[in-house]
């Protein structure tokens, strides 16, 4: 019968079914009701959201892809961290943890000495000033990378919220839980970044991170997906403080070529 209902019945079998339905009132009624049910379910109008929704959807999808990729990187770093931790603190050796760590430390020192002696052939006595400069430069690079990643992630999150139009896209924020989690991670990361920036004396950037931290905290503390006053307050906060503009300016500033670097371009 199901073949007949969905129009899949072969012609000869259809004749058989028709003759049976003509003779059997119960089957005939069941078939009529089932066919009628299928007709009713087709009467549901095809409702698609308006065009404005689809532009917003693309943006939300891109935001989510960016957040997920960021999350993947963070997870990978966490896994590496855990692997290193396991190397130093084996799970089933709580009693021997200290001797094990000490032993491992000795092995690492020995390896280091051997690398120093044979790997660098006695030329490892570089001036201490150079070493300090190198390590400062590396730290500065690390802070720059952290800052870039932080501003990028914040910008994606804030854009998603600022572009959310409650009138055309509905009251609820899409991927609310993920956005809140991302905000919470960024608040946490802000503390680490601020500590690094304090040392590097980047006062303007430090203030921007502080401003971002306040708005991100509000996002992390949103309790409901449809907290319209809360969302609007956050949107106003982002726009009022011109946070996206400040992020853009800071990003552009960081992309500038340093003045001391020689330029290959012709000057007019």
């Amino acid at each position: 019968m199901v073949d007949a209902l969905f129009g899949d019945l072969a012609a000869e079998k259809e004749d058989q079914l028709t003759s049976h339905l003509n003779e059997c009132a119960a089957c005939s009624q069941l078939f009529t009701e089932m066919k009628g049910t299928l007709d009713v379910t087709k009467k549901v109008p095809d409702v698609l959201p308006p065009e404005s929704y689809w532009a917003g959807f693309q943006q939300r999808l891109n935001d989510r892809i960016a957040v997920e990729q960021q999350q993947k990187q963070t997870d990978m770093l966490k896994e590496w961290g855990m692997a290193l931790r396991r190397l130093f603190i084996p799970e089933n050796s709580a009693r021997f943890a200290l001797p094990y760590q000490m032993g491992l430390a000795v092995v690492l020192v020995v390896i280091g000495v051997l690398i120093g002696r044979f790997g660098f052939n006695g030329s490892s006595t570089a001036p201490s000033l150079t070493s300090n400069v190198d390590s400062t430069a590396i730290k500065a690079m690390q802070v720059a990378e952290q800052t870039e990643s932080y501003l990028n992630r914040s910008s994606i999150l804030l854009l998603g919220l600022v572009n959310h139009d409650t009138e055309s896209e509905g009251l609820a924020i899409p991927n609310f839980a993920r956005k809140r989690e991302a905000a919470s991670t960024l608040v946490h990361d802000a503390a680490v970044l601020k500590a690094s920036l304090k040392r590097s004396e980047e006062a303007q950037l430090y203030m921007l991170i502080e401003e971002l931290e306040k708005v991100l905290l509000q996002i992390a503390n949103l309790e409901m997906q449809q907290d319209v006053p809360g969302i609007e307050m956050i949107q106003e906060g982002i726009e009022g403080r011109a946070l996206l503009l400040k992020i853009n300016l800071e990003t552009m500033k960081r992309m500038e070529i340093p003045a001391s670097e020689p330029s290959n371009e012709l000057s007019l």
Binding site: V2, T41, G170, P174
Partner: protein, 166 residues
Amino acid sequence: MRFRDVVDEHQRGVYRLALQLTGHHQDAEDLMQDVFIKVHAKLDSFRGEASIKSWIYRITVNTYLNKRRKKALLFMKLRDDFDNTLTDARSNTERDAESNSIREHVHKALELLSPKERSAFALRHYNEYSVKEVAQALEVAEGTVKSLLFRAVKKLRKQLVFLVEE
């Protein structure tokens, strides 16, 4: 094949199927995002053995079934108010009382189907998949699809028979 073009071409079809499966706009959007995230991750490995539409619809149904398994959609009921708001915002022609009433009854009846019955029914009835294609999408035998469809229509008949015209 650019990801953006794929989204542009298939987002409306995926939305329709997602709405048929979940019955709610917000859940349809969430499901649609999950689907396109997977498409984004796997697009490079898509070998073109099936059409891209079949491939994406298959991802849609599997994602829906997995979500149901994880009971993530337990919260769906809480969203009725939101979906009603969306309904109110629709065009005048759609406000036609009779068609709204039919839609409401059909959605409620579809909610009584099991996720697999609903998936089979949505693909065969609304998206004109053949029984063979439904079987491939759900990774079950064709006979199983027919059973799912029969059970689905029987359940729907119980709920909607009063709307069937004599």
